[in-house]
């Protein structure tokens, strides 16, 4: 993926996404347009049901829009089939989820090496790269540990190592701090920021966590499937800052 710093890596053009749930049609996203530059750490914020996870799924090639275009590094994702999207994700996207979702029967090293199974690398190289990724997230002493023997923060670090092991330009994180205490949440946010700073990764994150505002380059706010702009966005951001301040006053969980 060609990613020139500052140039838009992700272009979202008039994107709408509608689901049919039972007899109802749910408008998850309505005509959202947005450019995300390469090498930026971007946060999507908003209440539950605002469409932020849907937008993340579209950006990461997990889902396709009902209308509009999603273009990532020049590739129009709408045109790709399910299998082509899977191959594209394997090559270009690192995914991080709220509940870590490691494979419990694999060690940390093997979990991280999973995406490399989809490459042509030999086993020795896969192991080397997995260990390097675990070193980057500070878990070089947990290589052979199984998920059940790791703390929540460590498991999320393993998940981050799994996301970066293929050296993707785009890292997509869905509520990466949602299941962590305050100290671990900050550490994970800091780690994501370092991936941007030191490795030039573009990080797109969905979060409820007001602390995220201190770490991201840009925060976007969604409500009822609409991307807030202007004063509405400023008000939403201010509300989050106030809530972050209140959370800070209470101290870490």
């Amino acid at each position: 993926m060609d990613a020139t710093p500052g140039a838009p890596l992700i272009q979202i053009r008039d994107v709408s996404r509608r689901y049919v749930r039972g007899v109802d049609e749910v408008h998850a996203l309505e005509r959202v347009s947005l450019d995300i530059p390469a090498g930026h750490f971007v946060g999507f914020m908003g209440p539950s049901g605002s469409g932020k996870s849907t937008l993340l799924n579209l950006v990461s090639g997990i889902d396709r829009p009902s209308e509009g275009d999603v273009i990532v590094a020049g590739q129009r994702l709408n045109d790709l089939s399910e299998d082509e999207l899977a191959r594209w994700r394997a090559r270009h996207v690192g995914l991080i989820f709220q509940f870590f979702n490691l494979i419990p029967v694999l060690s940390a090293r093997d979990n991280v090496a999973l995406p490399l199974l989809l490459t042509k690398l030999d086993k020795a190289e896969r192991v080397r790269r997995a260990e390097t990724a675990l070193r980057v997230v500070g878990l070089e002493d947990r290589l052979d540990h199984y998920p059940r023997t790791l703390s929540g923060g460590e498991q999320q670090r393993v998940a981050i190592a799994r996301a970066i092991v293929t050296d993707p330009d785009l890292i997509v994180a869905d509520e990466p701090t949602g299941d962590l205490d305050a100290r671990n949440a900050e550490a994970i946010l800091d780690l994501l920021r370092q991936l941007r700073q030191h490795f030039g990764k573009t990080v797109v994150m969905v979060t409820h966590d007001p602390r995220a505002l201190r770490f991201v380059d840009d925060a976007y706010h969604l409500d009822k499937g609409v991307l807030l702009e202007g004063e509405e966005a400023a008000r939403a951001q201010e509300a989050i800052r106030v809530s972050a301040g209140a959370a800070g006053a209470r101290g870490p969980r």
Binding site: I62, D83, A90, L95, F97, I103, L114, L117
Partner: protein
């Protein structure tokens, strides 16, 4: 091969369930393989006991109908017949219970040795058999069963003829599995006459014929049956192998029923294994969603899930095949000293049974795995993520 670690790790996820499922498949394959050895074993058994030069001549109406004893002499005169011996079922019971526990026949003492030279009864014992009217030659299995030895005297009460006869054992058929007892036909004939039946025995149940040359067996059978045509006792001649094959015909029907039941059992195992595989897939829905999200394509996911079921059933099936070989070997050993196991000792695991067992286990694995694997793989990644998160 690079996905083997993932497949094996997933199989080890719930060791108890994997072991129980594998055990069920192993037992099913074992059951099927043991039963599959039966037709081949029966064939081997028949080949073992049947000579290619011996012919059975009996009443065309059935084994329970007799032929005139005089017919034996006519058969003996047919060109190409080396020897012929009339057999009559005595139905002698040795034990108090009064039931027949081993086959015993009245035979022509001067002919039986010539018809059964392959039984290797010593010449001296055959000579004693002719010399003593009350002599009996007994198979080694029956000798061992009752602890008899040559020189012992025994009494048999006939369940067919109105006589109880005392015998002295003068010889042994040196075959560990032979339960036979031969008695002198003339002895029974005299006993019947003494009971007020002036005609004496006068009949032959079966005439066993030995051809001088295997090539002439068919011609002799045709000649024998032509000889009796349009008489009161038309005959049906058949080779010894055919005779025993028909004799065990009911056993073949029994085997067919057992094979049918075994097939249904195997089908049940497929459903059990499929249910287990479905449970495994359902439990891992979240992980499978993540694998899809990080780029595992539908075909790859389908293949790895199918591989799990197939590897498990193949390993279990292989264990079942190995167990079958072990069990039949044990049966073979046991049958050497326990005659009641009868033809079980002759059952052998042929290479075709091994191949069928392995294919059965592969079939079980693939059939059990294909539905849950397809179900898990076909859903779009976003639908899977919505379902589990």
């Amino acid at each position: 091969m690079k996905y083997a670690g993932l497949v094996l790790a997933n199989l080890g996820r719930n060791k108890l369930r994997t072991a129980l499922t594998g055990g069920a498949i192993m037992l099913a394959v074992l059951l099927v393989c043991v039963l599959l050895t039966m037709p081949a074993g029966l064939d081997a058994f028949l080949n073992n006991i049947a000579s290619n030069t011996r012919i059975s001549v009996h009443n065309k109406a059935g084994l329970v109908y007799a032929m005139p004893y005089a017919f034996t002499r006519k058969v003996r005169q047919i060109d190409g017949v080396a020897a012929a011996c009339a057999f009559v079922w005595f139905g002698g019971a040795f034990e108090e219970a009064g039931r027949v526990t081993f086959p015993n026949f009245a035979v022509e003492a001067d002919q039986v040795g010539a018809v059964y030279p392959d039984y290797d009864v010593p010449a001296q014992q055959l000579a004693d058999f002719q010399r003593y009217r009350d002599g009996a030659i007994v198979g080694r299995a029956t000798m061992r069963r009752y602890g008899w030895k040559i020189g012992d005297r025994i009494t048999l009460r006939s369940t067919v003829w109105p006589v109880n006869l005392d015998f002295r054992i003068v010889g042994e058929i040196p075959n560990d599995r032979s339960p036979l007892l031969w008695m002198n036909r003339d002895y029974l004939d005299e006993a019947l006459k003494a009971q007020g039946r002036p005609a004496g025995l006068g009949i032959a149940g079966i005439v066993w014929v030995r051809a001088a040359d295997p090539e002439r067996v068919n011609a002799i059978m045709r000649t024998v049956d032509d000889l009796s045509r349009n008489s009161d006792s038309e005959t049906a001649s058949e080779t010894e192998k055919s005779f025993f094959s028909n004799f065990f015909g009911s056993l073949k029907g029994f085997i067919a029923i057992i094979l049918l039941v075994t097939g249904l059992v195997a089908l049940c195992i497929v459903f059990i294994a499929a249910n287990t595989a479905s449970m495994g897939v359902r439990e891992r829905a979240g992980e499978l969603a993540i694998l899809k999200a990080i780029g595992f394509g539908r075909r790859l996911l389908f293949a790895t899930l199918l591989a799990e079921a197939t590897v498990l059933s193949s390993v279990a099936g292989l264990a079942g095949v190995v167990s079958t070989i072990g069990i039949t070997k044990v049966l073979h050993v046991f049958a050497g000293w326990n005659a009641s196991l009868g033809p079980l000792g002759a059952f052998i695991v042929t290479s075709s049974v091994i191949v069928e067992g392995i294919f059965l286990s592969l079939f079980v694995g693939m059939l059990a795995g294909v539905v849950p694997a397809f179900g898990a793989a076909r859903k779009p990644v976003v639908a899977t993520l919505h379902e589990v998160f």
